[in-house]
Amino acid sequence: MSGAMDEAKVGVYVCHCGGNISDVVDVKAVAAELGKHPQVAISKEFAFMCSDAGQKLVIEDIKSGKINRVVVAACSPALHELTFRKALQRADLNPYLYEHVNIREQVSWVHKGDHDAATRKATSLTRAGVEKILRQDRLESIHVGAAKRVLIVGGGPAGLKAALDSAARGLKVTLVEKSGRLGGHLHEFDTVYPGGQSASELLGKLLSAVSANPAITVVLGAEVKTWDGFVGNFKAVLSTGDAVNAGAVIMATGYRHTAPSAGEYRFGKDDRVITLPALIEQMKAAPRGPLTRGGRAVRSVAFIHCVGSRQIEGVHAPQEDGKVNDYCSRVCCTAALHTINALKERQSDLAIYDLYRDIRTYGRGHEAIYEQASKNGVLFFRFTEEAQPEIRESSVVVKDVLTWNQEVELPADLVVLVTGVKPGEVAELTAMMKLPTGSDRFLQEAHPKLRPVEVANNGFFLAGACQAPMDLVESAAAAGAAASKVAAVLSKDFITLDPYVARVDAEKCTGCEACLPECAYTGALFMNGSKKAEVNAALCKGCGACVAVCEPRALDLAGWSLDQMEAMVDAMASEVAP
């Protein structure tokens, strides 16, 4: 190692992040300070290191032989570590001879008030980065083979489209559906907004394409029971006993309707009060003629929006887990208005009152549905979360902010609660697959802007309403996007993984087995024939739990070795010493 250190020439690049960093940190001072390090050959600052020009700086310095290790002090590595590793690769340097130091989230954004201290901290962190990379070995990424099969969990519209898309790309598909039939919520609708197509026709097309496709194996009434493996080689056993070996997984477990809480708007107590999905079901079952309730004709209907959505703590009863649903359910406004227009078409003299907080007909063709409802004579009333409508004997009372908080009493033979959506029942799955969920309990994407269908866990992708409420257009887009990512992962002959895994120095290993119980990943760490610990690099997640208990220091983490950590701590500690 000392041999490698002698010839190591580090390039340090301090990023302004267009003011995000340089407004607080004296980036010139940081670069100057680091330039004094004996093994730092180049130390510069630059406006946007991530820009093409910034990357070019690094590449040219490598190519001209001035440096052979790189430290960039910039934003979070989550954003740009990969960017620079790729730049190193383009300069024919081992991409793991790179260290990304975060002086934005960890310095400039949190120490706005104290420029001197922020500059010192940035210098100290960057110096630690230099010490770390000086002790870095030339790591190589790990290659694993990939099963050319994708497992899709959930057979709603999103799962069906993802299955067809994946099969069309030459992959084998196993589609697991918990219920006894494919189609998810598409079964519930008569026609769908915004285009008004027949839901059963849309579903029919999907189903016949799926059943005609020999590459797709559908398993109905089944769930994933056991889970193992890693990207390229996941192993699932289904409740039917079927074993599935898949290279990637698409989650398409969709949503559930929220139920009004006990007594909310007299739901469950007053049989005039029903939910929107119940009304849609009733209309689908009896597609023509006037609406009836308990055998009697309905002459007036009041719709109340945002039941189970946009809830406010203290105002609404919490869900089972103690939290309120504070999100907007996205689909309900347009779904309600689409249903209202269908009602008006059957029964033009029906009086309809729409009680809302905001009308969110945001999508292509949605506003026209709202317009149509107004033209159809629907009357709109706006209430605030503090003053919710009240259900009376044969009417609804609303404090209407549109008419200066007048209390209006509206006759209502039927009250329709526009309920929201919550994620499908996936607690067991997420625990088993170790998948992240957000505070809204939906499955969590890798980045809410840039990576909506990817998951932080390698090999998992999201399609449709399991990630967030969305309509069919959006669910179809998400499904196609997930299929695109899967095609990219599985189109190559092998999958590339980062080399940050545990490794064993067999000479030091005493075979004490203290590490074995610490490993949480089946098969990742085991005793080999010569009674020494051994690591399966494809299964190891690099958590370091084994390293912590290894007394002879035989175990270490590649890229995060104990040596490196010590040198980093020393670098930072020497800074504060007088």
């Binding site: 991530c50 020009a53 790309r169 706006r382 840039l450 069919l472």
Partner: protein
């Protein structure tokens, strides 16, 4: 030139689709009419709902595209025509506009820009700032080549003298290119409704009435003034109003639909403004707040908690009073009944989104719908297909939408293109086809 796919437009949708296809081993020609890739997103300040700085998250995508061995990017290039051949392939006629520099020589050193004596309005800053008649379009533009604006250039020769590699070429002409592809993907994006479309708001006349994209630039880390100042006199504004639906949900403007992103970007800009001007009063005049996406409602509620005023009202007329300040005639839709006048010293109009390019002008079968955006007859289940077999569309080319929804559609479009290629140009094991 031959490739699997032609992607038209290098905004976030086109970039993502090109990357997805290239990651699947497909050759892409990406054509962009502007001098840099990145589209609208690269000019935004921060993006809702994460408040990531737009530059920070767009540049890596731009760089990955620029460096991908399977993506051939043509910037400053226009599409003159696309014709379908007998065998189902497409032949695209492109025209590369002259930058008046030799691209293979230029090193992006900016010496030309430094010595140029002519200042012109900066389109990237939406007219709020100035740039030189020869300049690199913006800090993190890709590629880092300067562009010379021939209408403004005085042909003084200063740039040519200063250029260390002798790459300025005043005689450069446009160059025509032809590309043969199996599929075409439209990602041609949006533009804002004209600022003066609603005369009563004074946009284009009153200097302190600005567009939402100008608002983005005022707040961007590399913006025209480096901080938030109002255009008329450089004063730090302390009462700012947003007028929502200033170009949408209004049949009289030909935009009856909702532009989908304005509620959220106004809330975002309001939050950023209140961050940089803590004592300023900020008011959003709105019809409905449409915070429908993942995490958006919480974003809206945070803005309310930060003290941003949300007023459900129609804004009738904006006129200038003394010192460039503005008086807005508003009709509240809650609270009082009387029309009233509110005063602000900067007004940001949340203009609507309309298509940037009409593909119907080419001689092919691609049609637009009544809203002017590319028609997608396969929706809801096949939202990327257009009226012409082999041509697909995604992002704001098919209607207003935000970044995350554009990215999802881009991924889906890559799948649909990929499915077509699977039939027309099957992959052979090992990658190439």
């Amino acid at each position: 030139m031959k490739a699997h796919t032609l992607v038209i437009g290098a905004g976030i949708a086109g970039l993502q689709a090109a990357l997805d296809l290239a990651e699947q081993g497909r050759q892409v020609v990406l054509v962009e009419k502007n001098p840099s890739i990145g589209g609208r997103m690269i000019s935004l300040s921060k993006v809702y709902p994460t408040l990531d700085c737009a530059s920070c998250i767009t540049t890596p995508r731009m760089a990955s595209v620029a460096h991908h061995p399977l993506i051939h990017t043509l910037t400053y290039t226009e599409v003159l025509g696309v014709a379908k051949n007998e065998d189902g392939t497409f032949r695209a006629h492109l025209r590369k506009k002259p930058r008046y520099i030799e691209e293979d020589k230029c090193i992006g050193c900016k010496r030309c820009e430094e010595v140029c004596p002519v200042y012109i309005r900066d389109d990237f800053e939406h007219q709020l700032g100035a740039k030189k008649a020869i300049s690199i379009p913006f800090t993190n533009a890709i590629p880092q080549f300067p562009v010379l604006e021939p209408q403004s250039c005085t042909w003084c020769g200063a740039c040519a003298n200063a250029c260390p590699v002798d790459c300025i070429d005043f005689t450069q002409e446009s160059r025509d290119l032809f590309v043969e592809v199996d599929a075409v993907l439209l990602a041609t994006g949006f533009q804002l409704t004209p600022i003066d479309a609603k005369a009563q708001y004074g946009g284009g006349k009153l200097r302190n009435v600005i567009s939402s994209l100008q608002g983005e630039r005022l707040l961007a880390p590399h913006g025209p003034y480096g901080r938030v100042l109002r255009p008329s006199d450089g004063k730090v504004p302390d009462s700012i109003a947003f007028v929502q639906c200033a170009g949408s949900r209004d049949a009289s403007l030909g935009v009856p639909y909702c532009s989908r992103v304005c509620c959220m970007y106004a809330i975002k800009q309001a939050m950023l403004l209140s961050g940089s001007l803590p004592t300023a009063d900020i008011t959003i005049y709105y019809m409905d707040i449409r915070a429908f996406g993942k995490g958006y409602e919480a974003f809206y509620q945070n803005a309310k908690a930060m003290g941003i005023n949300f007023v459900k009202a129609k804004v009738g007329r904006i006129r200038e009073i003394e010192d460039g300040n503005l008086a807005l005639r508003i009709e509240r839709q809650e609270g009082t009944a009387q029309p009233e006048e509110a005063q602000h010293d900067l007004v940001i109009l949340s203009l609507g989104l309309t298509p940037q390019w009409n593909p119907g002008q080419l001689a092919w079968e691609v049609k637009t719908a009544s809203d002017g955006f590319v028609a997608t007859p396969g929706a809801p289940l096949d939202p990327a297909a257009t009226t012409q077999d082999g041509v697909f569309a995604c992002g704001t080319a098919t209607g207003p939408k935000d970044i995350v929804d554009s990215i999802m559609e881009a991924g889906n479009a890559a799948t649909e293109v990929g499915k077509r290629l699977e039939i027309r140009a099957p992959m052979v094991p090992g990658g190439a086809s």
